[in-house]
Amino acid sequence: MIDVRQLKKSFGSLQVLKGIDVHIREGEVVVVIGPSGSGKSTFLRCLNLLEDFDEGEIIIDGINLKAKDTNLNKVREEVGMVFQRFNLFPHMTVLNNITLALMKVRKWPREKAEAKAMELLAKVGLQDKAHVYPDSLSGGQAQRVAIARALTMEPKIMLFDEPTSALDPEMVGEVLSVMKQLANEGMTMVVVTHEMGFAREVGDRVLFMDGGYIVEEGKPEDLFDHPQHERTKAFLSKVL
């Protein structure tokens, strides 16, 4: 589903990705962990080209992102993204946040888009918030709306960029449980997170990144209980 080969990316003179190779299968939940500055968010953002990369290849569902005839907007419809800071549109109601892309990109009529939006809000348990503005939502609610919004285009892949890092601790659970539900439905997910419990419980595979490389990868139980590399051990000893 996702094929990444020798991905390299620099910001000015600082190389943040030094050659990433990874293959992600359909329906797989891949959790990316690592210290801050390890390049994990940049890696995630490259997957829908929010961040351009310098070298290497990314192939999503058979489409090479850098090929000249690739319509990036079409690829992005297939790849939903959830951000650390939610990035809901503050000037629109929750409902309009969700219907906008359906109406403007897919050209659906309003009624059809709203029916779909209500269905997605029900899925994240927030039908009653359809007509409020985002600033009246709690962090957990806002992130659940953001997940519903990212699902509107029925993406095949969902990217999560530290989805619970900006939340108060008591709200982390509600967001993780929505993500768990998605994983159980067979969604292909790439999740950058510091929630090791989630990684262990829901992840099919964990990638540990440091210094622009994938240092170690494996099943959660192997990586967490028997890390091979010194850097992995050092990182895990601080966070577990």
């Binding site: 992005r76 790849v79 403007k104 503005y133």
Partner: protein, 218 residues
Amino acid sequence: MDFRFDIIVEYAPYFWQGLLVTIGVSLAGIVFGLILGLFIGLGKMSSNPIIRLPFSWYINFFRGTPLVVQILLVHFGAMPLFFAQPNAVASLAVSLSLNSAAYVAEIFRAGIQSIDKGQMEAARSLGMTHAQAMRYIILPQALKRMIPPFANEFIVLIKDSSLGMVIAAPEIMYWGKAAAGEYYRVWEPYLTVAFIYLLLTLSLSKLSHYLERKYSTQ
């Protein structure tokens, strides 16, 4: 001190005509300044430094030189290249438009750049094009923030239209000066002129407050 209301009464029809000219050139300056300014602001936001250059020098020139000099250059320099008999009102409207475009461009740029870049990213990640994201996500939020600086700029523009006096454009100030010259009086004509400008600028500032309230409650 006697205050000669009869001078104001006698000049009332001229002040009225002057008011229409002032409103006319100010509106022209606002409308064309907005259109031209949006274009220049977008040009200045280009990622290509070669494209950016002429736009930033346009802004440097029109913000960095006195409006009165620009009016003289336009009326006696630029307009005669196109018209045998340059019209002072037209020259004034053109000068005000060119000048306000420079300020409007900077207001647009600052407004757009003040929106969190996560908004653009969220819109793009949903498959929207850059233009769609601008239109539905960035501009509606940015325009709200632009209302106070726009009001500020257009209040300045209304007052600056009085510089049309130097090319004898018959706006309010021109008639104030004429009345002052004819009767050799200061208070009556200039207080009248000041009062009319105050009415215009206060109305604009009320309008701005109304718009701000309207859009802040969503």
